[in-house]
């Protein structure tokens, strides 16, 4: 047990890093997802094509491969652009590579979630809004968007859980997240089983807390909606 006590503070700080990475990625994925959904539902054909290309490619390439490409290749690209523009050195560290990759990949999944949710809002409600004399922006902000969130919530929750677990991959490009630190501790103390179990427990804790938050959100956004009884 002694070894775990020794390493626990550093692994917990790694857990914090994992959480930070996951939340930043989530934010980026949500922004990309909303943009992607807007593009997919837009009347401009090139926007639709671009969004379709984006979701197809991102869902067909593993996150690890993408991350290796961004981390090792991205730096070369950034340097070349930077040298031309006379910037000082801009670093792509494992954290940046990790959150960009996870954000961009899950942006594709969120695009599909939001597209479906936007389409689930009954058209009659939008028409009713227009009939009441609301502007297009008011219809979007007061009717379409809040209702869309309700339909999107289960998908968003599911994607979040998958995203959270994807963060473990970032340890493979050397970010000192909790998986990397536990891996290192396991190798140093020759007790990998114990330390991997610690990581599992920490991930399960995060999953459990996420579950509670998601339940609360679902209840909040479903106020006034009658659950169907089987």
């Amino acid at each position: 047990m002694h070894a775990v006590v020794d390493y626990l503070p550093s692994i917990l700080s790694g857990a914090l890093l994992t959480l930070e990475l996951a939340l930043l990625s989530l934010f980026m994925a949500l922004v990309l997802g909303l943009t992607g959904a807007a593009a997919k539902l837009s009347k401009i054909a090139p926007a639709r094509w671009t969004a379709t290309l984006y979701t197809t490619v991102m869902r067909g390439v593993p996150d690890l491969v993408m991350m290796l490409l961004v981390f090792y290749g991205g730096q070369i690209l950034v340097n070349e652009v930077g040298d031309r523009l006379g910037w000082d050195y801009v670093e792509i560290d494992p954290f940046v590579a990790g959150f960009v990759t996870i954000g961009v990949i899950f942006g594709a999944y969120f695009t599909e979630t939001f597209r479906g949710a936007f389409q689930s809002v009954p058209a009659g409600q939008l028409e009713a809004g227009a009939a009441y004399g609301l502007s297009r922006w008011q219809v979007f902000a007061r009717i379409l968007f809040p209702q869309m969130l309700r339909f999107a919530l289960p998908g968003v929750g599911n994607n979040w859980l998958v995203l959270l677990k994807s963060t473990a991959i970032v340890s493979m490009i050397g970010l000192s997240d909790m998986t990397w630190l536990a891996d290192q501790a396991g190798r140093s103390t020759r007790e990998p089983f114990l330390f991997y179990m610690v990581v599992c427990v920490l991930y399960l804790l995060m999953t459990a807390v996420s579950g509670v938050v998601l339940d609360w959100l679902t209840r909040r956004y479903n106020v006034g909606v009658r659950a169907s009884v089987l």
Binding site: Q75, N79, I173, G174, S176, A185, R187, S188
Partner: protein, 263 residues
């Protein structure tokens, strides 16, 4: 106005570049998974002989050391793409690597060695290793040597991202042997409790032919970018200084009883 802004920006960019060149801060990279040379401690900080030497060099140069942890796989490309300024991660100086980067003088030297259960008949030779599984760290000189002289000739060479993973698999019996830098094996495995029933089998491998010696390389040095000749010169001077004033010996004695510098 916009022209003025452009000039100001250009001037700023130039001055930033000049500042970066005076080496008041040196970004040093190491792997953090190669004890006792470099590892991450239970507090999450980098430590080990490489780190101590790097810090001593920075102290000598009155520069600030910023340590960067980098996976072994991408060490050299990361140096070239300026993620950091030096690699001080027990990297052997080989002709192959010198095509991409420059090296300082060596700060220690190590032959290669075959590690297996004590008393096993294995030797670091093709005939002896046929049908056996040998673990190496990917992208190291041990990997290059095993790949060139053993792999595909009846020996199964298994590549690991980290040296310690090869030891875990050697300890559990997945590997028949590990092929590794002698001093690393000595300080990172054989002298530890779980390495006590293992030993170096056969002779240490210094390279018998010119071809073999080319793969093994010529001592272990600090890598810098080819264009940073000033940094290389400064590091060489500092290295000579810490060798002369006893700092080097004090550091190596923390980890090894014997002399690891070589002749």
């Amino acid at each position: 106005m916009s022209k003025l802004a452009f000039f100001a920006a250009a001037l700023l960019a130039v001055s930033v570049n000049v500042q970066a060149k005076d080496w008041s801060t040196i970004r040093m990279a190491t792997e953090g998974a190669y004890p006792p040379f470099n590892e991450v401690g239970s507090d999450g900080a980098l430590r080990g002989l490489d780190v101590d030497i790097g810090n001593a060099l920075c102290a000598e140069l009155k520069a600030k050391c910023v340590w960067v942890k980098q996976e072994w796989d991408g060490m050299i490309p990361a140096l070239i793409s300026r993620k950091f300024d030096t690699i001080i991660a027990s990297m052997s100086v080989t002709e192959e690597r010198k095509k991409k980067v420059d090296f300082t003088d060596k700060y220690y030297s190590s032959p290669l060695a075959l590690i297996a259960k004590s008393g096993s008949p294995l030797r670091p030779a093709l005939e002896s290793l046929k049908g056996k599984r040998v673990g190496v760290q990917r992208g190291t000189v041990s990997d290059n040597y095993a790949t060139k002289f053993w792999d595909g000739k009846g020996v199964t060479v298994v590549r690991y991202a980290k040296q310690d993973e090869a030891y875990l698999d050697l300890g559990s019996g997945r590997m028949d042997a590990a092929f590794v830098d002698f001093w690393e094996a000595h300080g990172g495995f054989l002298s530890k409790p779980d390495g006590k029933s293992y030993s170096v089998l056969g002779d240490k491998v210094f390279g018998k032919t010119a071809e073999e010696r080319a793969v093994i390389g010529d001592g272990i040095g600090i890598a810098v970018r080819k264009k940073d000749q000033d940094l290389k010169a400064a590091l060489n001077k500092a290295l000579a200084a810490i060798r002369a004033n006893g700092t080097y010996e004090k550091i190596t004695k923390r980890y090894f009883v014997d002399d690891i510098y070589g002749q």
